[in-house]
């Protein structure tokens, strides 16, 4: 089956701005990756349990115990803009 990938859409969904030449180049690279995956997918897997994680482990939980949070000054120091203890961000949606 030929690989059909809308690389411009993938880039848009990932919020990555790509130029024409980049779309071309990454499109070809991703197609090669998907073709490799195609080959794996063509293998007969009847009766084989799906692998959801490479580690043969389950239930790696932690007890419900509170540990120290970071001081606010420290986390806000990493923000481009702050206001009254909040992270300040540009407007989220344009007016309709």
């Amino acid at each position: 089956m030929p690989i059909d990938i809308d690389i411009a859409k993938v880039a848009r969904l990932a919020r990555i701005a790509l130029g024409e030449e980049e779309l071309e180049r990454y499109g070809a690279q991703l197609t090669a990756i998907l073709e490799a995956a195609e080959q794996v997918q063509a293998l007969p897997t009847e009766g084989v349990e799906p692998t959801s994680h490479p580690l043969p482990s389950t239930n790696a939980f932690r007890p419900d115990v509170v540990t120290a949070s970071l001081p606010r000054v420290e986390i806000l120091a990493a923000a481009p803009e702050t206001e009254d203890g909040y992270f300040k961000v540009p407007r989220i949606l344009e007016a309709p």
């Binding site: 859409k9 969904l13 932690r62 986390i75 961000v89 007016a95």
Partner: protein
């Protein structure tokens, strides 16, 4: 809406009240100073690794089991990818095709009309941060900028998805209310709608009565009260019928309910917004909930609201009282303990759903902040049925007990509310009144029942209101030879 049928499904989000967050040890608290309960994990800093909170998994298993779901022996976490300032990792850890609980149901009853609402799935995820939109009256559209608080980021969040089995705004509201009661009974969340620890999204469509195909649906997001849920759905049904009757199609879109406008308004139309590029969360290993874990959860479930209502019906508790009790597990437990201690079912039901609830509400108190014990209600009940205390005085005594003034006996004595039960004392008061009002008593002898009330009143006055009026009227009747 004659000729039309509404089809509604509801997604309910419930924040679990664990001590720590879903994937990190930051505390789960409501109302803390902004950005004071965060760490590299819940801020999505590079390299930070999530570790699931076992208590949260226990909590969702309790919810799923209570909703009669199948528990998946094997389930996994996925990443749901989207971009929003309150989502620091640019993905939310959630569950996708293998949720931990699925295929359950809940029974609801609207004015005696029972229906079973299917539960598609119950899955585990994490909450996002909170954005405050500044400018334009806090509306997201046209805001100058937004402020983000990540305290809520990573709080354990359970999503309960119903089948599109609801057919009216009233059913939808009752479904939301029943979920709230169930989760409260389980003790895994405080389910405070006004604080956002329980919130609803409703998917709504309409179709011609008798049609099998569903109509195009819209989604109304983030409804945060039961009343708003009912109103928003009612409005959206009306709106869609109006659109269809004018010959236009319903557009699939996300809408926002405005309590002020009493209407839904367009938030965004669905286009690419739904492409979340789910993939397996590589940082987390699968969950395995084996049969013995499932059995442990099942055995540890408390009595659920529906079971309580049924049991109270059997006890002869009236419908309204049973409903109030089933919605308030702590008060219902007190009621049960009082009845086991010998308290009268009807009197205890009146006291705990009447005086007690009013007392808690007036002082914004929790039950465990009061001094009342089950034995107090049993004692109070015995005083009333034994004629030592009037029903009216009992309510005042209960108030004193709640305030911590002592046992019912002590409060009644201290406030001089006890009735005279000494037969001799009542007898002499009655004799005195008969002597004083010989005319009236003569009329009673002749069978004129109208004067009975007057004579009883005189005895009550003579005893300072402390005689049992029933006992007094019996005595007067027997003396009159009745």
């Amino acid at each position: 809406m004659s000729g039309w049928e509404a089809v509604v499904g509801i997604e309910t989000h419930v924040e679990l009240q664990t001590a720590s967050k879903m994937f990190c040890g930051c505390p789960v608290v409501f109302g803390a100073e902004p950005n004071t309960t965060t760490c590299p994990v819940c801020l999505g800093l590079p390299g930070a690794m999530p570790v699931p909170n076992e208590e949260a998994i226990e909590g969702i298993l309790r919810i799923g089991t209570a909703l009669d779901c199948e528990i998946a022996e094997h389930s996994v976490f996925h990443r749901k990818n989207y971009f929003y300032p309150d989502l620091p990792k640019n993905y939310q850890i959630s569950q996708y095709d293998v949720p931990i609980c699925h295929d359950g149901s809940v029974e609801i009853d609207v004015d005696g009309d029972a229906s079973v609402i299917g539960i598609t799935r119950v899955h585990m995820e994490e909450d996002t941060g909170k954005s405050i939109h500044v400018g334009e009256g806090g509306r997201i559209h046209g805001a100058e900028h937004s402020l983000v608080d990540f305290n809520r980021s990573g709080v354990p969040l359970v999503e309960i998805v119903s089948e599109p089995d609801l057919r009216s705004p009233e059913q939808a509201r009752e479904y939301g209310a029943e979920l709230q009661r169930i989760v409260r009974a389980l003790g895994v969340s405080d389910v405070r709608l006004e604080e956002g620890s329980m919130r609803f999204d409703a998917n709504i469509s309409v179709r011609r009565a008798g049609d099998v195909e569903y109509g195009t649906r819209t989604e109304v997001k983030n409804v945060n009260s039961l009343r708003s849920l009912q109103r928003a759905i009612a409005h959206e049904i009306e709106r869609q019928i109006g659109v269809l009757e004018s010959g236009e199609p319903v557009v699939q879109e996300t809408r926002h309910w405005s309590e002020d406008l009493g209407a839904t308004t367009l938030m965004r139309s669905k286009e690419e917004s739904e492409d979340y590029r789910y993939f397996l969360e590589p940082d987390l290993v699968p969950m395995r909930v084996d049969a013995s874990w499932q059995a442990r959860v099942r055995e540890a479930l408390p009595e659920l609201p529906a079971a309580r209502r049924a049991r109270y019906k059997g006890l002869g508790v009236d419908r309204r009282t049973a409903a109030v009790l089933a919605a308030a597990p702590d008060i219902a437990d007190l009621f049960d303990a009082a009845v086991s201690a010998g308290a009268d079912v009807r009197l205890s039901g009146i006291w705990v759903t009447g005086e007690l609830v009013a007392y808690l509400r007036a002082g914004d108190r929790a039950l465990d902040e009061t001094a009342v014990e089950p034995d107090h209600l049993a004692e109070l009940s015995a005083m009333v049925t034994g004629g030592r205390l009037s029903a009216t005085a009992a309510k005042e005594v209960l108030g004193g007990v709640l305030d911590g003034d002592g046992s019912p006996g002590e409060v009644a004595a201290a406030r001089d509310l006890l009735q005279i039960t000494d037969a001799g004392a009542i007898e002499s008061a009655v004799a005195a009144v008969i002597g004083e009002h010989a005319d009236a008593f003569a009329k009673l002898r002749e069978g004129d029942e109208k004067v009975l009330g007057f004579l009883v009143g005189q005895v009550m006055r003579a005893t300072g209101g402390k005689a049992d009026p029933r006992q007094v009227s019996e005595l007067l009747r027997s003396k009159a030879g009745g």
